[in-house]
């Protein structure tokens, strides 16, 4: 599978999740029935598109694919992804609405049912720096999520737009750092470079002042994630 050759950034406890992508696991299943499907996620945050900054704008990401392209892994975590599809975004800032389409091969949909997280993951960077980011541009985690990527509904959770997720969560050494600057890893769209910022964070560990609390409550922002039949608004 093409994406197995992608370089993965190594980050503490995130290794488990990322290992699922790099082929330590075995593809053991895929959706039997082909069915067009859509995914969308909405959050309010700061974003940048084509050099223009939007402050506390409503961002909706969308992905259209087919269930026949779902891939499931069970090692080291239970993980399902759909890489083949078309991804786009809408920014609503007051009366202004901006739409853009992601260049192919960057944004895809994933769910980690072992740790509980789902949404829009990506391959970022170029050349030898190209790597996978499971929690960027936007995923949700914590209770409230779905159990798979095929059950229609709207789900909710802590919103993460984090490059390097979850490098801050090293509970053994009480060390770590916050998410990396996303401006160094812009996603490419037909309207220029796109960046999502994670601005609302919780630091509550006296041993790690100023560092995100953990991979769930560490993000104060929330988002909704919708799975629906494709072809509908």
């Amino acid at each position: 599978v093409k994406h197995f050759s992608v370089k993965v950034r190594t980050t503490a406890c995130g290794q488990l999740l990322k290992a699922a992508f790099v082929g330590l696991g075995v593809v053991w299943g895929a959706a039997a029935m082909a069915s067009p499907i859509s995914y969308s996620s909405t959050v309010v945050t700061d974003v940048r598109l084509g050099g223009h900054q939007y402050h506390r704008a409503q961002l909706t990401l969308s992905f259209f694919g087919d269930t026949k392209d779902l891939e499931t892994f069970n090692t080291p975590v239970d993980f399902t992804q759909i890489i083949k599809g078309r991804a786009s975004l809408v920014i609503v800032d007051g009366d202004e609405q901006i739409e853009a389409t992601f260049n192919p091969g960057q944004v895809f949909i994933s769910i980690d049912t072992t740790n509980g997280g789902e949404g829009f993951s990506s391959f970022v960077g170029t050349g030898k720096d190209r790597h996978l980011e499971p929690a960027y541009p936007l995923v949700i985690d914590g209770s409230g999520g779905s159990d798979d990527l095929v059950t229609y509904g709207t789900y909710s959770g802590h919103a993460w737009s984090c490059i390097g997720f979850p490098s801050f969560q090293d509970n053994f050494t009480n060390t770590g750092s916050n998410c990396l600057n996303p401006e160094k890893f812009p996603l490419k769209t037909d309207h220029g470079d796109f960046v999502v910022y994670q601005k609302y964070e919780y630091y509550d560990d006296p041993l790690r002042p100023g560092v995100i609390n953990d991979a769930f409550w560490g993000s104060l922002n929330k988002a909704v994630f919708t799975i629906a039949p494709a072809g509908r608004p």
Binding site: S38, T42, V43, V44, D46, H55, R56, Q58, G94, I140, G142, S143, G144, Y152, G153, T154, Y155, S156, G157, H158, A159, K199, Y200, E201, Y202, Y203, D204, P209, G210, W217, L220, N221, K222, A223, V224, T226, A228, P229, A230, G231, R232, P233
Partner: protein, 261 residues
């Protein structure tokens, strides 16, 4: 004589006009700005004859900032919550949008059916109703009981702001952008957290702090059943939402003031 009187009248009008202009420059002008309150989350329940589960829900109230009423909540000697403001917007046009299997279903609430309120010290904001009380149909927060401040640990920005309002020394626990969010209904802001509701009664907290239930009194087992959710009248029939307890679903509430930001 006629011309002379006319000149005097003109002078007086001119003087009055100049005085009015000067006064307008000195006195503060209370200017109403259009504002939209929006809550986005998930919900299960019924709208008219339509039953839904895990729908996306968006509640809106469009009004203006002059319609926001500010009242004073008295200090609570038991919980230590100090006297603080409570913001409420009861006028305007309130709407509902449900996203079910990719299809949007829109409805408008009857006038005065729902309102928006925000208690920045308890950490609760959202849509209340006369029929269902301050937390029904849906609010954001980790409400634990009457006059009990939010459970900050399971927090969003609404509980972060409440935490710091009650205990300013805790500000170091939050990122600067979270601390900079306005904590009222008159300025654009983003208030996030758990989506909860409890028709007619506040939440009660189990003594072991592990379970929450929507009930009238936590010591009375018979009363620990959630009260029936009242029907809210909309243009597409009655809306009834299932109970949402803390720590399950999440959502966000925005205040968008035109010209703000």
């Amino acid at each position: 004589l006629h011309y002379s009187n006319k000149g005097t009248i003109m002078k007086k009008l001119l003087t009055c006009g100049l005085a009015a202009i000067a006064l307008a420059g000195v006195l503060p002008v209370v200017k109403a700005a259009p504002v939209t309150y929006t809550l986005v989350g998930t919900a299960s329940g019924k709208l008219g004859a339509l039953q839904f589960t895990n729908a996306g829900i968006t509640l809106n109230l469009r009004t203006d900032t002059n319609s926001v009423e500010t009242s004073k909540v008295a200090a609570d000697g038991v919980t230590g919550v100090p006297s603080h403001p409570l913001y409420k917007a009861t006028k305007g046009v309130a709407t509902l949008n449900l996203l079910i299997n990719g299809k949007n279903i829109f409805a408008e609430f009857r006038a005065h059916e729902v309102y928006v309120s925000y208690d920045p010290f308890l950490g609760m904001v959202g849509f209340g109703s006369n029929a269902g009380g301050p937390t029904y149909p849906l609010v954001i927060g980790d409400y634990q009981g009457p006059n009990l401040p939010a459970d900050y640990y399971y927090s969003g920005t609404v509980t972060a702001l409440a935490n710091v309002a009650n205990e300013p020394g805790n500000a170091s626990e939050y990122s600067p952008a979270a601390l900079a969010l306005p904590a009222n209904l008159k300025h654009s802001t983003l208030l996030t957290g758990a989506t909860i509701n409890c028709p007619g009664a506040p939440f009660a907290l189990d003594p072991d702090i592990s379970t929450f239930f929507c009930a009238a009194a936590q010591d009375d087992p018979a009363a620990q059943q959630p009260p029936a959710a009242p029907a809210l009248r909309t243009s597409r029939g009655d809306l009834v939402l299932d109970q949402q307890l803390p720590h399950h679903s999440k959502g966000f509430f925005t205040v968008k003031v035109r010209g703000d930001d």
